[in-house]
């Protein structure tokens, strides 16, 4: 019943909006045909990538999981980097972790983008969400948000040989290296947070609250949407200024 009601109101809404929508659509079409950029806000055009639930990589997770899929995100990042209409990327994180390879791949993609990017951790940015949060040029965390840092582990059948342990250590090192390279936290501090005992009920590791994450240098600042957007537009302005300078230099050289 509820969905029916929703449908009715939505339909009404859309019919009221139709005329306005159509005229604005024509405007956009015109702009596209004339080769001009799409409609922008005064401060610049940004895209927003929301990462929710599990990061899904090589294995399709069962349907009870909410996932952010690798194959969706990667092409979107390429499109954002390549599009002339997009000035920056806002990354919103509320994730419980997921596939190490997929998470690191997305984080590396974001870290290697030339366009300004700002991340905002809301609710939680746990496990593989940590490298993703630090991948952007500047990072924010809501004061009430948490980040869980814990060792990588595997459930199910493993071969009980020393090499298995070494393999795990290597996998873990990838995360540690990425995080220490892309944030102000040292690899030693991050590793010690990862292996801390007495913080989690049945696990090794640490839960960092918003302020603590900033104190450890993992995240740049506490804040919310307003702060994150302001910072992103600030970075966009900075980049535009740099680009303009490069243009002037080139002209001067010739």
């Amino acid at each position: 019943m509820n969905t029916d009601n929703n449908k009715v109101t939505l339909n009404k809404f859309s019919s009221d909006e139709e005329n306005i929508q159509e005229s604005s659509k024509e405007d956009i079409q015109e702009l596209k045909e004339l080769g001009k950029s799409t409609v922008k806000s005064k401060r610049g055009n940004i895209h927003c990538l929301t990462v929710i639930g599990q990061i899904e990589g090589h294995i399709v997770l069962p349907p009870q999981n909410k996932t952010t899929k690798y194959e969706h995100v990667i092409p979107q990042l390429v499109a954002i980097e390549e599009s002339e209409d997009i000035d920056g990327l806002l990354l919103i994180l509320n994730t419980v972790g997921g596939d190490v390879e997929a998470g690191l791949a997305i984080a590396e993609m974001i870290a290697s983008m030339s366009k300004p990017s700002v991340s905002l951790v809301l609710g939680g940015g746990h496990s593989i969400g940590v490298p993703m949060a630090v991948a952007t040029k500047y990072s924010f965390i809501a004061p009430s948000a948490t980040m869980t840092i814990h060792p990588i582990r595997l459930s199910g059948m493993i071969i009980g040989v020393p090499q298995t342990f070494e393999y795990f250590d290597k996998m873990q090192e990838r995360v540690v290296q990425f995080v220490s390279k892309n944030s102000k936290i040292s690899s030693e501090t991050f590793r010690s947070l990862m292996l801390k005992t007495g913080e989690l009920a049945n696990d090794v590791g640490t839960i960092l609250f918003g302020e603590e994450a900033v104190k450890h240098g993992l995240i740049d600042e506490t804040g919310g949407l307003h702060e994150a957007l302001n910072k992103l537009y600030e970075l966009i302005d900075l980049k535009k200024g740099e680009d303009a300078n490069i243009c002037l230099d080139e002209k001067g050289g010739v």
Partner: protein, 74 residues
């Protein structure tokens, strides 16, 4: 695959081969120029489940709002 998550693996992979899997049959389609995840319903109609796009304006399009019904795919 190494799962690096705070959710225990048995919760993530629970019910994998259970009969519940069919109930959540979601489809991804391109509609109004944006990629959306839909739930197939009867009579070739689809209900929008979520938008998979980074374009903020797509989220303001009433036709793409979660719960709205797409009559036919054309």
């Amino acid at each position: 695959m190494i799962l690096y998550s705070i959710i225990p693996a048995d919760v993530v992979f629970g019910n994998y081969f259970g009969k519940n899997a069919d109930e959540y049959s979601l489809k991804e389609i391109l509609y109004e120029g944006e990629k959306v995840e839909v739930i197939p319903m009867s009579n070739n109609t689809y209900k929008v489940n979520r938008i998979i796009s980074t374009e903020p304006k797509a989220y303001l399009n009433p036709k793409l709002m979660p719960g709205s019904v797409i009559e036919s795919l054309k």
